[in-house]
């Protein structure tokens, strides 16, 4: 058998695996005799795109906010003042330990109502950012605390003050270490945004539910739904791997 050049080997494997996957899917559907009804589903395409755009927009907003929340909570957990440290530790544990569903319901119907904010989208974005921010805070904290004492000492020895040490030594090294965890969390955020439907945000999942009940279909809505998420999450993961390679300086 002739040897295949290594640059072709990977695309070839990918094609082969995709082919096998398609065949398996085809075989499964052929067996259950699923009656496709794409025409009815197609009528809802505009709604679908609207939902997708909303999911995309609110995810982007929540991502930006969640990084800020995560950074603030991380700083709070490392603060010298004990009350602040306790407050931030407690907040992180509460947010990470309870279901997002409950946070959204309590946050929107109780908290937001109490302070008279009635925009489910705004409240949803803030609550989602807090939930993911709590995870990010722990990812950031782990990355910063993994910077060795000898790097800190070297920073002091060349004459950096506390701020310069963080700016020139700790943060650049911590960013690289936090990168894989952070992108994983941002991918989760995109998928978790589907829960915002419980407070009445008509994002993608909600639109697909409407589509399915309107056209008496199910998979005709859910398969494109999965594809619509992958279109966003796969490039994000790919871009993160590229960034990681750019930052790779440790052997």
């Amino acid at each position: 058998m002739p040897r295949i050049p290594s640059s072709f080997r990977r695309p070839l494997w990918i094609l082969l695996l995709l082919g096998a996957l398609s065949f398996a899917l085809y075989a499964v559907f052929a067996r259950v005799h699923y009656a496709w009804n794409w025409q009815r589903a197609w009528q809802y395409r505009e709604q679908f795109v609207q939902g997708w755009l909303l999911t995309l927009g609110l995810s982007l907003a929540a991502m930006a906010l969640s990084v800020l929340v995560g950074f603030a909570l991380m700083l709070g957990r490392r603060a010298r003042a004990e009350p602040l440290r306790l407050l931030c530790t407690g907040t992180v544990e509460l947010l990470r330990g309870s279901p997002l569903l409950v946070q959204l319901l309590v946050g929107y119907y109780i908290l937001a109502t109490a302070v008279e904010i009635h925009s489910p989208l705004l409240v949803g974005i803030v609550l989602l950012a807090c939930f993911e921010g709590a995870y990010l805070a722990e990812i950031f904290r782990g990355a910063i605390e993994s910077i060795s004492a000898s790097q800190m000492e070297a920073a002091r020895a060349v004459g950096f003050d506390r701020w310069q040490t963080y700016r020139f030594v700790v943060l650049p090294q911590a960013v690289r270490r936090a990168l894989p965890g952070t992108t994983g969390q941002l991918v989760s955020l995109i998928k978790d945004s589907s829960l915002l439907s419980v407070i009445g945000v008509e994002e993608l999942v909600q639109k697909v539910r409407i589509l399915n009940s309107g056209s008496y279909t199910s998979l005709e809505g859910y398969l494109p739904l999965a594809a619509a998420y992958l279109v966003v999450t796969l490039p994000l993961s790919w871009y993160a791997r590229r960034l990681e390679r750019r930052f790779a300086y440790e052997t």
Partner: protein, 245 residues
């Protein structure tokens, strides 16, 4: 220079690394060697002398002037000195050149081109100029340590403090690094050196401070120390080190 320590004390938790350590060098000391068994307080004393660590009590005097304890003044003093560590401690995310140029710009206020030129000049002198765009992980231990020496020398430090600079290196790399230190000493750089390389210390040091158990047991001119150590601990230490060489 005249370097003095007066009743210096520094603890890590319950462990007393320095226990009222006092010594005074002659007025014209240039290369001071800190010798003594591991865990005896050499590294801690070196950091205290250079202002990298503040002692809990006691004071350091350089040419009669006490090192300040107040944070801003202590940082200013620290910035006059250069440090080299056992584990090199170059910044892992920066190229060799940037390891040197960044502190020059941010701490010593040099312009970008000046800092780069100074970094290249030092790397040239230490035979590393071809490696200047590499990151520390791409260099050998000896190259990293010479890079660390270049970084410490870049701001023309009053005092160069080296903490066991060759303990992590094989004999060939140890030779490379010691050559550099010897040249610096010959050119008149004021040096404080903690080391186990006795024959090297014998060759370059003009003053020896011998520590054990956090206390200074001997402080005298180097030839006198090597010919006739006054304490039993120093005799035992020197005897143990020269056993196999």
């Amino acid at each position: 220079m005249k370097l003095e320590g007066h009743r210096l004390t520094k603890s890590y938790g319950a462990f007393r690394a320095l226990d009222a350590a006092s010594f005074s060098t002659g007025d014209e000391a240039r290369v001071v060697a800190l010798l003594g068994p591991s865990g005896g307080g050499k590294s801690t004393l070196l950091r205290v002398l250079g202002g990298l660590l503040l002692p809990e009590s006691g004071e350091v005097r350089l040419d009669g002037e006490a090192l300040p304890h107040e944070p801003a003044a202590a940082l200013a003093t620290l910035r006059c000195n250069g440090f080299v560590f056992q584990g090199y401690n170059l910044f892992a995310h920066l190229s060799l050149q940037e390891n040197i140029a960044l502190p020059l710009r941010e701490v010593h206020g040099l312009a970008v081109v000046e800092a780069e030129a100074r970094a290249c000049e030092l790397l040239e002198r230490l035979g590393l100029v071809d490696h200047r765009h590499k990151r520390p992980a791409e260099l050998s231990g000896g190259q990293q340590q010479r890079g660390a020496i270049a970084r410490a020398l870049a701001p023309r430090p009053r005092l160069l403090l080296l903490d066991e600079p060759t303990s992590a290196l094989d004999p060939v790399m140890t030779g490379e690094v010691l050559d550099v230190v010897r040249e610096l000493a010959e050119q008149g750089q004021q040096i404080v050196l903690a080391t186990h390389e006795i024959s090297f210390a014998r060759r370059v040091a003009d003053w020896v401070v011998f520590l054990a158990g956090g206390r200074v047991l001997e402080s005298c001119e180097a030839p006198a120390f090597f010919q006739a150590p006054a304490t039993a601990a120093a005799r035992e230490y020197l005897g143990g080190l020269s056993k196999y060489r």
